[in-house]
Every structure is written in C-alpha cells, then in structure tokens.
C-alpha cells in the first residue's frame, strides 16, 4: 500500500476530489498548508511598509491506496490538478507498512 500526498492549489480541491471519486477512491484526508517553491508569492503593504509574503496557501491531500491503483490515482490527480502554471504542486509517494480501520480493527488493504 502507498500513501499518496499531493500538494495542490486550494481551488482545485473539488476537481481532484471528483477525479478520485470517479476512479473509485472512497476516502482521503485534506489539510491546509502553506507552500514555498518556484511560484513567487505576493506583496502586502501595511501603512506604506511592503512585505514580501513568500508562503502561498496550498491544500494537501493524503490518500492511502492499494498498490495496484497507485498509477491511476497519480494520473487522476495530475490531470485534475494541472493548470500548467508554476505552482501547480507536487505528489509524494511513500510506502505504507500498514493501515488499520479503527472502527473494525481491519488491517491492510481491507482497511483503506
């Protein structure tokens, strides 16, 4: 099993969620993060003092998936999150040793 972590633009969340649902992914966990990267931030000005704000609001999506759907999942995210502009985001894939469903105690792919 793999944990797919995608950093995307916040307003793409609905699209990504729909794309994942479309390929049968039933669950995911989402959080708000701030990103720093090649995309440049913006300037804020308070009473004449300018501040460069480097961090950009991003959304992080974590999805645990069985190995066999990994590629489909990555493709779905890439397709739905892409805007062809710097800052579209990244996907990180890590190996999952185990998954447990708290309610039932099921483990492994059954728990996803």
């Amino acid at each position: 099993m793999k944990l797919v972590t995608a950093i995307i633009r916040p307003f793409k969340l609905d699209d990504v969620k729909d794309a994942l649902s479309a390929i049968g992914i039933m669950g995911m966990t989402v959080s708000e993060v701030k990103g720093f990267g090649r995309q440049k931030g913006h300037t804020e000005i308070y009473r004449g003092a300018e501040y460069a704000i480097d961090f950009i609001p991003k959304t992080k999506i974590e999805v645990a998936v069985a190995d066999d759907v990994l590629d489909k999942v990555i493709d779905a995210i890439v397709e739905s999150a892409k805007g062809n502009k710097v800052g579209d985001g990244k996907i990180f894939v890590t190996a999952l040793d185990n998954v447990v469903r708290i309610r039932t105690g099921e483990t492994g792919t059954d728990a996803i």
Binding site: E44, I45, Y46, R47, G48, A49, E50, Y51, I53
Partner: protein, 427 residues
Amino acid sequence: MKFSKLLATALVSLAVVPTMVFADELDSGDTAWMLTSSALVLFMLLPGLSLFYAGLVRSKNVLSVLMQCFTIACVMSLVWFAVGYSLAFSGDGDYIGNLDKAFLAGVTVDSMMDTIPESVFVVFQMTFIMITPALFVGGFAERMNFGAMLIFSVLWGLIVYVPVTHWVWGGGWLADKGLLDFAGGTVVHITAGVSALVAALVLGNRKGFPQKPMTPHSLTLTVVGAGMLWFGWFGFNGGSAVAANGGAGMAMLVTHLSAAAGSLAWMTIEWIRFRKPSVLGIVTGMVAGLGTITPASGFVGPIGGVVIGLCGGTVCYFATQLIKGGLKIDDSLDVFPVHGVGGALGTILVAFFVSAAYGGAGYAQGMGLGSQLGVQVLGVVVTALYAGVVSYILLKLIALLTPLRADEETEQQGLDVAQHGETGYNM
C-alpha cells in the same frame, strides 16, 4: 470655576449659543445630547479604539491590547472620581485646580454646569481621561509589562493629563492666552502621541522589528474599530459644544468631512504609490482626519473641514513613513505620526481656518491670524514638551521599581498567555 473652553467658544461665536445665557437652568435637549455624547465617547474607546488596536497586533497579543485599554478605562475613571475632575475643573489656578471636588464632593443630582447637570459633565470629561492614555498603548504594544503599564498610566493621568486639561479647558494659563482647542488637539492627541513615541523609544523596538513582518492579525477587527471611532468621534467633537445647537451641528459636520477627506487623501497616496489602495490605509487616513480636525471642530466651517482633513491625511501619511520606515522607531501602531502629528497640525491650522473668511467662527476680539498662530504654536510646543519630558522621567522612575519590558520568552510566547493566562482564539 472658570471654564475657558466654553469661554473660548463663547468668545468666538457668541451668537451661536443663545441658550447659554440662561446658564444654570437645565435644558433637557442639551442634556440629552451630552448624555448621548458621553456614551459615544465611551464607545469610541470600548470597544472602538481597543478593537482598532487589537486587530493590528499579532494574535498572540490580541487580548493584551484589549486588556490594557480596558484596564486604563477603569482605572482612569476612578482617578477622575478621586481627584482628577477636581484638579482639572475646580479652582482658578493658572496651572492646576484645587481639591474641593475630590471624590466628587458636592456633585449632586441638582448640581448644574451651564445648561446640563454637572454629573453629565463629569461623565463626559471622564471619558476623555479614559481614552487619552489608552491611545498611547499603541506605542508600546506587544512588549510592555502590564503592571508597569498600569503605574505609568495612572501617574501620567495625574501629572500630564489633568494639568494640561486645566491649562486648556479648566481656566488655566493657556486658556487665558486664548488657545483654541475645541475637543483635544493638545490635551488629548499631542499628549498621547508624544508620550507614545517616548515610550517606544524608552522600551525599544519589538524583537525582530523592522526585519520581520509583524502584520495585523485581523484587519477586519481594525476596520470595525475604525467605524466605531468615526461614530464615537461625533460625541467627542460634537459633545464638546456642551449643547445641542448649531455649534454642535457644525462640529459634527466638519468632523465628518475631515474624516472623509483624510481617508481619501491617504487612499489616494497609496493608490498612486503602490496602485493598491488598502483598507488599513483608508482607515488610518480617517483617524488622521479625525485627529486633525479635533482641535478645530468647533471653530471652522465646512470648507475648513475638508481642507483640514486633506492636510491631516497627507501629512500623517508621510510622518508615518518617516518614523517607522525612516527612523526605524517602533511606535508600533503609529500613534505619534497619526495622533501626535495630526493633533499638532490641527491645532495650528485652526489659526487659519477660524477666520470668517474661510467660513470659520472668526477670531476672538483682539486676535488676528498672527497672534492666534503664535498662541497655537505655543500650545503645541508646550504640551508636546511637557508630555514628552514627564513621560520620559516617569518611565525611567518606574523602571527602577519594576521592569518596563516583558522578558524575551514572554514576548515570544505572546503576552496573552504569559501575562493574562488566556488566549484570544480557540477555534
């Protein structure tokens, strides 16, 4: 008691206030307006000013600012009750009043102050001593120890605010000279602004200033506070007529126009410089416009109001750039460049716009532009120097007793948790 503020008003605009000749007979309309004005000035401070400031600090210090404003409000009320009112408004001294009305002795349900009950006058003026030291909280925000802040405020109220009030409004020497300060250019804004600057210098900059951005945690709160300030300022300036008449009406009108003009001046400068007019900019311009018109509000006409507002917004903008950007002084919420500079500017501009030629109330007998200007400049310089020097000495003395500045860990963690044991938000 000589009450030179009214006197000054009366001198320059005698015809305006016909009801005043029946002094000591209660006028229910004047009373209604002064009751309302008192409530408005209270509101200007709590929650008005406290919110305006609270929005500008980082969220870890939001409560500390609210707490400082709130506590000052309470403590100064009791200071006023105990001796402040009496020292300011009772007795004929040139420099200070007497203690005849300490603990409001003799202020009964029947006591009158011209056409309104004296109790109402006491409350109205009380709101002024509450708000003035609360203004300088912005100078040392996010780093001063609460205890030291409280001692400083009380002593400052007694040694700076009360005497200056007596000089200007209580029949003291500046009143005798004919200083025109309708609602507190010198008494309120200059004293508070200069003391904020001194406190900022004595305490030193916040850790990280000016390299680290310390952006407002909630401009929404600040804008709400700004609206409340505008609203409350109608009582501040309009109530300073101590009557519901044409003088109060004109004060309100010019106050309003100056606020609008100051706002637009600041906004326009930002628009030109950055192409991004900001809401913090426009509300700061509003405060500048309001602070600048304050001393002038009972003396000038509509055109004077607009011009004074434009000057206030513009001059305070550049003063802000100078203090923070240029001199790198961490007068954290820009109290000096907005209130101090605005108050001084307005006090000086009165000398011009009181002229009947510009729709003002006209010079008092024996006064002209030159002589009035001289008095106004004198008032500005003396009150600024006095407030600055006394504040400096007070802070240095208090520092011998108790540290003025929160320790580094407290500053890092935020004053809310460290000094007040609570946090602003638990969402």
